[in-house]
């Protein structure tokens, strides 16, 4: 289904049930109306919290609010070409990011990835290993030797 056509219909009928069927959860009008953001996650908690965060930011720019298409099963939508056709932006989390957009150097260390799917570039939010170790050190200052399981 052409996304442009879908956008028009959902922006006029903002009903969650309808949007869920369409694969879109929320659409808002604004100056950046070419922008479509897909939030991809396997986990409903991370998905809903991330969408809330995205919306908090966009609410601060009422004059430039992009349209948002948030989805929990975005792989289908990406594979079907819906988001690429829109020139939209995808925010993918963890394993989902690795699956959708394989990145050689960041196999399992991606916290989040944001990417314009028609382009090869993007932004990776990568796990902060140092920060985790520092906090662990606060709890276990006497731990001198660490074990790690790798595959």
């Amino acid at each position: 289904m052409p996304l442009a056509k879908l956008r028009v219909s959902v922006s006029r009928m903002l009903r969650p049930a309808l949007l869920l069927v369409a694969g879109l959860h929320a659409v808002e009008a604004g100056a950046h109306d070419a922008m479509v953001i897909g939030v991809l996650s396997r986990d409903s908690r991370s998905y809903s919290e991330a969408v809330r965060g995205v919306n908090e930011v966009l609410a601060r720019f009422p004059g430039a609010a992009p349209r948002i298409a948030s989805l929990d099963e975005g792989a289908t939508m990406v594979a079907a070409g819906t988001i690429p056709a829109s020139g939209g932006t995808v925010i993918a989390f963890g394993q989902r990011a690795s699956e959708l957009f394989p990145i050689t150097n960041y196999p399992s260390q991606i916290a989040c990835m944001i990417r314009e799917v028609s382009d090869q570039s993007g932004v990776l939010l990568q796990h902060a290993a140092e920060a985790r170790l520092l906090r662990m050190r606060r709890l276990l200052p006497g731990a001198l030797t660490m074990g790690m399981l790798v595959a």
């Binding site: 991330a50 790798v150 595959a151």
Partner: protein
């Protein structure tokens, strides 16, 4: 640092046992092939039997018995992603990949595990925990 290469995950316990006398803490990595729900039980049993704390990869690990686990603040990641999305040039992506770290790191604690491992939790670590399990 001792890294154990798990070529045969089904024999996880046999591969973990030799670590018991060699490490002070076991740190989980973000590799779902290893730190899966299936492997959680033998890893945590090893931890409690040998009094070697596990640092888990998600809140669920603390709930299950890991001394501490880290997680992301997904709302803050969403906010950051929203900011970045607004910065994306019209019709173009970034010229090269940008790599950042999440701004907020959150942690959860298992207080029963702390008692079992005889660990005193610093006040700031305790107060900063998003979840505390007894």
């Amino acid at each position: 640092m001792h890294a154990v290469n798990l070529r045969r995950p089904l024999r996880l316990r046999l591969q973990l046992d030799p670590l018991a006398d060699r490490i002070d803490v076991l740190i989980a990595t973000y590799d779902l092939r290893i730190h899966s729900a299936e492997n959680a039980q033998p890893i945590l049993l090893f931890s409690w039997r040998n009094r070697i704390p596990v640092i888990g990869v998600s809140e669920a690990w603390s709930r299950a018995g890991a001394l501490m686990s880290f997680d992301w603040d997904y709302a803050d990641i969403g906010r950051r992603c929203g900011e970045l999305a607004l910065r994306l040039p019209e019709g173009r992506g970034f010229e090269r990949p940008v790599v950042e770290s999440p701004r907020r790191l959150v942690h959860s604690l298992n207080l029963e595990a702390a008692r079992h491992f005889l660990i005193n939790i610093p006040a700031d670590v305790l107060q900063g925990a998003r979840n505390r399990y007894n």
